[in-house]
């Protein structure tokens, strides 16, 4: 018998997708719902009502042994967060079961249970208790928590007077010292300033080496690769791969390449209803070699092509390709309007292609958001935050590959225009732009570089 601490058997969770604006129910709706129930049941038997239900997780079975650090990867909506929610008992499974040995702690959200009116000291105890710590455990770790959070001077001040940085540091410190038997982490925490982020990462690294069982969800392949020996890949709520981290990440990349066709739902226009004037009917990305693909090299130029169907004439449209990293960081936007390329109007089928420069993004997963705006609507002043796009579609997950860099280095890596070095009478000028790219530099010197550090 293996020494497992988590065992799941055919775990499944069925969600009812909220249709339209119905955020929460009122009695009236419930009563009419009850009256309509027979009719709905009839329809369900015909099998046409299943579109309102979604298996966020289905038939998920796996075991985790004590001390294992397991990464959970998958596209958005693959069921990663649902799995953590089930294991932390926040919500109940619809079918199957999971057996968990020991205390489960989660870093699903820092600052859970903080009350703004209470002081830092009081919140440490309150939040600790909510996370499942006993009073004597908090007493024992109190000094460590305070030291880690670096806010000892403000300990007796209500947290509502804290800066957001202080708040987050204290919240993370409490969560970090809860020391459960099994830790669930959703997205590696990047909080506070860079120095504190490094501290958090070090702490996480320490935890992964300490023999704690950890399940980690992340969009950052670098984080998964550096912490986990094993990874589980989820796809549409099922386990698509389970095994050695490198193999599973490799499979994930292959799966992305294979997913050239987007489900019809993703191609629907974003308008409130189906009455949007413009629909994005097709999307594709091409590399330097002109091939359609989703995996690009570090400094490879990318061509994006979209096909539109404008059911009405739209004057002076603004077509935008927004690039977002898997963990939600917005990288930048390419936009015909910003680049002073005016299109007089769109009508009927149209095609827009954009040649992006080498982005030099660090190797990671990214997504493209395609947006189309009409003339006016707030973007005249350059402020798009209040404008409503007439078409918006997210095309998830393309990947940038390349060795050496990862998200800890930042978003992108670009060379300086020029370097100059002086020592005595010697002056050396170096024009970085004409040299080999950093991507090649990494490839040449990679082995020594890593060892020397």
């Amino acid at each position: 018998m293996s020494d497992f601490v988590i065992q799941t058997e055919h775990l499944g969770k069925l969600y009812q997708i909220a249709t339209g604006q119905a955020r929460y129910n009122t009695l009236r709706e419930s009563v009419t719902g009850m009256l309509m129930a027979p009719a709905r049941k009839l329809r369900r038997n015909n099998g046409s009502d299943t579109r309102d239900m979604l298996w966020a997780l289905k038939d998920v079975s796996f075991e985790v042994n004590r001390g294992e650090v397991v990464g959970i990867i998958g596209r958005n909506g693959a069921g990663k967060s649902t799995l953590l929610k089930l294991l932390s008992r926040i919500t109940e499974p619809t079918e199957g079961r999971a057996i968990v040995y020991g205390r489960v702690g989660s870093l699903l959200e820092v600052g859970t249970g903080f009350h703004p009116e209470l002081t830092g000291r009081e919140n440490v105890y309150l939040s600790g208790a909510i996370l499942g710590m006993h009073r004597h455990e908090i007493d024992r770790r109190f000094d460590q928590i305070v030291e880690f959070s670096e806010i000892s001077r403000f300990l007796d001040m209500p947290v509502k007077r804290y800066s957001s940085g202080m708040y987050v540091r204290l919240a993370f410190a409490v969560a970090a010292y809860m020391e459960p038997d099994i830790l669930l982490v959703d997205e590696v925490l990047a909080v506070g300033d860079i120095a504190f982020q490094q501290k958090c990462l070090k702490h996480m690294q320490g935890l992964t080496q300490s023999g704690m069982t950890i399940l980690m969800v992340s969009h950052s392949m670098a984080a998964i690769q550096s912490s986990c020996q094993r990874a589980i890949m989820l796809q549409h709520g099922h386990i698509a791969a389970d095994g050695n981290t490198l193999d599973v990440i490799d499979q994930f990349r292959k799966a992305l390449k294979a997913a050239e066709e987007y489900p019809a739902a993703a191609l629907r226009p974003a308008g409130e209803t189906g009455t949007a004037k413009v629909a994005i009917t097709n999307f594709d990305m091409f590399g330097a070699d002109g091939e359609s693909k989703r995996e690009f090299k570090f400094d490879e130029p990318i061509r994006i092509r979209i096909e539109l169907m404008a059911h009405e004439r739209v004057e002076c449209p603004m077509i935008n390709f927004g690039i977002k990293r898997g963990d939600g960081v917005i990288i930048n936007n390419f936009n015909n309007w910003y680049d002073n390329f005016r299109i007089d109007y769109i009508e009927g089928p149209c095609v827009m292609e954009g040649w992006l420069p080498p982005l030099r993004l660090v190797p990671e997963f990214y997504e493209i958001h395609v947006l189309v705006w009409p003339w006016g609507g707030g973007h005249l002043a350059g402020d798009l935050s209040r404008a409503f796009p007439i078409a918006a579609v997210t095309y998830g997950d393309f990947h940038i590959s390349g060795p050496g860099l990862n998200t800890h280095d930042g978003v992108y890596q670009t060379p300086a225009l020029k370097w100059q070095f002086q020592r005595g009478a010697t002056t050396v000028n170096y024009d970085a732009m004409t040299s080999t790219s950093i991507y090649d530099a990494f490839q040449e010197t990679e082995p020594e570089d890593i060892q020397n550090d």
């Binding site: 919500t91 109940e92 309150l126 020391e179 990462l201």
Partner: protein, 294 residues
């Protein structure tokens, strides 16, 4: 290159107790039918309950000018108004004790009940953030809210003791029963609070129902008038409203009113316990969907 920043990890300050296989396994699976109340788990989480009560007490009157005096002002001012209009002008009888103390004795437990009910019914919705992020027995949330009201009750009770002194009313041996009547008020508030808080997660109508309900309930409870205005057997049947039993019990224990309260209080106790049990069962049934719905 950047791996270096992560290499220098000191593991000595992170020591993990290995969870033994002796640790009780937690089985996570869909619950069917009548799930157990999980009282053992509530006991396990008693410290959290303590912290939640403590938080509610600390926070309740933060940033208010009058602070905890609100606990006294609410029942006291109501008493003044009642004495003027019901006692003086309408001439409502008060079982042979001065009307002000007659109504205040009722208002102290009533304020505890009504405030507890109002706060409890919103408690789950107000902690939506917690419910969707962390697991703990959900029963703790409304229970702690109601229990924290005991502090307010105690403050208002001190004023009641002062008034008894002023009016020269000496408590009788019946006083020993008072904790039981207090428990009855607690059970009633908790029973109704569990129903309303769980309903509120799904139906936000509850938010509008509660103020109306407490107002209606107040008039259906012998606060401004004595239940002796009713003839038997209606007076005893009045006990089906558990708060009627609580209030007549309070008057009997503190003021020595001459009414036979036994049968009425028995009926109230039965009604309160039924309310609590059904409330707890409904709460537990709805609990599993809280995080998805709230």
């Amino acid at each position: 290159m950047t791996q270096s920043t992560l290499d220098t990890v000191r593991t000595e300050d992170v020591k993990i107790k290995a969870p033994g296989r002796h640790a009780t396994p937690v089985v996570i699976q869909p619950s069917h039918g009548w799930s157990a109340l999980g009282l053992r788990e509530m006991w396990h989480y008693r410290e959290l309950m303590y912290f939640m009560i403590w938080r509610d007490i600390k926070v309740r009157y933060k940033q208010t000018a009058l602070g905890a005096s609100w606990a006294i002002l609410q029942p006291f001012l109501t008493m003044v108004v009642f004495s003027l209009f019901f006692g003086r002008l309408a001439g409502i009888p008060s079982d042979g004790v001065p009307y002000p103390i007659f109504s205040y004795t009722a208002l102290v437990p009533w304020t505890f009940f009504a405030n507890g009910l109002t706060l409890a019914s919103n408690s789950l919705v107000n902690s939506a953030n917690l419910l969707s992020k962390v697991y703990f027995p959900r029963l703790i949330v409304p229970t702690a809210t109601i229990l924290s009201g005991i502090v307010d009750f105690a403050l208002a009770f001190v004023v009641l003791a002062g008034m008894m002194l002023v009016y020269g009313i000496a408590p009788t041996i019946n006083l020993l029963w008072l904790p039981l009547f207090m428990l009855l008020a607690l059970i009633t508030a908790l029973g109704a609070g569990l129903w309303l808080s769980a309903l509120n997660v799904k139906f936000r109508d509850v938010k509008y129902v509660v103020p109306f309900l407490t107002q209606l309930w107040m008039f259906l409870t012998p606060i401004a008038y004595p239940s002796t205005m009713l003839p038997e057997p209606w007076r005893t049947l009045y006990g089906l409203n558990p708060m009627a039993g609580v209030i007549e019990g309070f008057r009997w224990a503190l003021l020595g009113t001459q009414m036979t309260v036994g049968p009425m209080i028995f009926l109230s106790a039965v009604a309160a316990v039924i309310l609590l049990i059904t409330g707890a069962i409904y709460f537990r049934r709805m609990e599993k969907t809280f995080a998805d719905v709230v």
